[in-house]
Symmetry: C2
Subunit: 387 residues, 2 copies
């Protein structure tokens, strides 16, 4: 197997390391296409090129590993490579989440495998398990802590009594959070993964913009105290589930009781729990961030290409369900500054209400459709969590 | 797909239920071979036969599901079925653990698949993951809570402050332990699973009698107090690991610190943790006992046969390692009644020693070879746990 890589950041370097320290997978990296030729690189300059054609048009290269951070470029590389008769491995969750229908189509047309285990929950082999093992109709829900950055921040908050801003700063200093952390802390990154999992769990394509995501970016000390007083920690949870022919999903911060399975998932670890009719809960736990764990997931895809593995998307072929979250109701904690900040008419039921000088909150039931369109979420003084 | 089943106990009935409530897998059960025709059965009598040939010689039947409790009969059924050109699914861990080299050979000769996901950790898809996902040489250890019965008993002991005898009796009343619980409580059942996992993790065939197992059958209130005083619970842990070309393994009760991953695995749940060079720890958690979870694992094998899945045993083909546990040293807690009960010369180092009217213990390092052959283990007043 001869490999061409696009991008040589954290995951690319992780793959390089992992590939050079394993004897099990014999694969040669022939070329690495990068954007910036002037950046110092830790390996021989002869590997690098800035010309995509040097990989895409090289008949020796049978596997393209796409690890860029640009979704548009990534899609163009992946689709061109498949059309050139090459297998593609990618970890670009945003690109995959948005372009999955097209990528599925190109796989059908070209017959080339497109594998992306590293795009979901990093080192946890969740896509492969959903594809291969949970391929009957007994699966009812998939729930996960899918973002290592936010989980690291939330662990710091609850284990070291830090505020959100301080914990975020620590995570940035240690390289666990990017200088612009929006994708992570606002729940976009986890949502992109959820969209991919929805296809492999329930056979449904879903447009990421249809899925509500909220993050931990507005988490206040008041919110954190409320969680503690309820015997809970806070985790950023992405969840999808099926009720009859309807699939729902959301990615939201959530109160998780201390002692529950997800409360034990700390730092950069990820977890995915599957509920199925007969096996009840099954949980997979593993590192959700870092060069080596993600590189290892990429390597496992490369390794699977040795025996011509490809996703069969069997559930899509059998599927009768469709994605429709709007009528799904959730129990919500909403914190606000003053009465009138939140439109109570959006709620079908309000079960608790607390007012004090330190802050106010209400707890009630609301549909995801109402919540997604609620204008009061634009108010920076308002925050919410699933409960 | 047309199925013939041997045995219609707990797992067989679980499979029946699961198969009839899923639409994803289209498979018909044609015949069920049982030993006792006079036992009342929950389904139509026309399904049953006492004549194995009615399944083995029926050309319509392409899958034989072997769910008997007799290892000799099970091997004979499995091997005859494969030689008749049928795929075989089995959950018989004892039979598989002892006959794996022959079963491997018959698969090679006949080209028929022989799948046994339900034999290890019930509902957790660990064999498939080891086969398909961890197929490079980076895996260093596999460690699991593999027996639901003992885990249920140990959970009761630590959560409800029961003694061993009382917890065992409760487990028996609730159907979690058999009237003769030896295979479970002395660690044989978990050891058989470990032997199967060793092949799929490291590509090494191991004779079950070579692997040291010890259980919770001699657990005393004194032992339980020692665990608590060290901030630990006790779990029955099976572990195998590779150091260079040497693979070691054991199945022993172990002090597990409260808060550690395995301490959170309770009741009939099982867990398997894999350590690998780059992903660090990955843990799979799921139900380890019960008709439906085990039936579901059998169903997943049947489902995989739709697309002609078989184990490739790639690691065996690549393997250079061999099983040799005797020189492996472990840290051991040994409780005894009086000085002289334990031969201290067997230990390479003794780091703690405690004597009192309530009981005595020592903690020290010992090789698995010495421990396996220690005559002092025949003394009913002696118990030990890994630490």
């Amino acid at each position: 197997m001869t490999i061409g890589i696009f991008g040589f950041g954290c995951v690319g370097q992780g793959l390089w390391q992992v590939l050079h320290e394993t004897k099990g997978v014999r694969a040669d990296i022939k070329k690495i296409c990068i954007k910036n030729p002037d950046k110092p690189r830790p390996i021989d300059a002869a590997y690098f090129t800035t010309d995509p054609a040097q990989i895409l048009d090289d008949p020796d290269i049978d596997i393209v590993v796409e690890l860029t951070d640009d979704p548009e470029a990534a899609f163009s590389i992946a689709s061109r490579a498949m059309r050139q008769g090459k297998a593609v491995v990618s970890a670009n969750k945003k690109m995959i989440a948005y372009r999955l229908p097209e990528l599925y189509q190109i796989q059908q047309e070209t017959g080339q495998p497109f594998l992306y285990e590293a795009s979901c929950a990093a080192s946890i082999p969740i896509i492969r398990n959903l594809e291969e093992y949970y391929d009957n109709d007994l699966l009812t829900s998939v729930e996960g802590i899918l973002n290592g950055t936010t989980n690291y921040i939330l662990t710091k908050i609850f284990s070291e009594n830090l505020g959100y801003a301080e914990a975020l700063k620590q995570a940035q200093t240690l390289g666990f959070a990017e200088s612009n952390p929006k994708m992570d802390v606002e729940g976009f990154d986890a949502k992109f993964q959820l969209c991919i999992l929805i296809l492999h769990a329930f056979g449904v394509f879903v447009e990421p913009d249809e899925v509500l995501n909220w993050g931990i970016h507005r988490l206040s000390d008041f919110d954190i105290r409320q969680a503690r007083s309820r015997g809970c920690e806070i985790k950023l949870v992405a969840r999808c589930f099926r009720q009859g022919d309807r699939v729902s999903g959301w990615c939201l911060p959530k109160f998780v009781p201390v002692g529950a399975r997800f409360s034990t998932i700390n730092n950069e670890y990820n977890a995915v729990s599957l509920e199925s009719a007969f096996t009840e809960t099954q949980t997979f736990v593993g590192k959700g961030a870092g060069a080596a764990p993600t590189g290892c997931a990429v390597l496992s895809d490369i390794s699977a290409l040795r025996y011509h593995y490809k996703y069969e998307y069997r559930k899509f072929a059998q599927n009768t369900a469709k994605f429709d979250s709007d009528t799904t109701e959730i129990n919500l904690y909403v914190r606000y500054q003053q009465e009138g900040d939140v439109d109570r008419a959006d709620f079908t039921e309000i079960s608790e209400h607390y007012a004090s000088n330190a802050g106010n909150f209400l707890i009630g039931k609301i549909s995801l459709g109402k919540l997604k369109n609620a204008a009061w979420l634009n108010n920076e003084q308002v925050n919410f969590l699933a409960i």
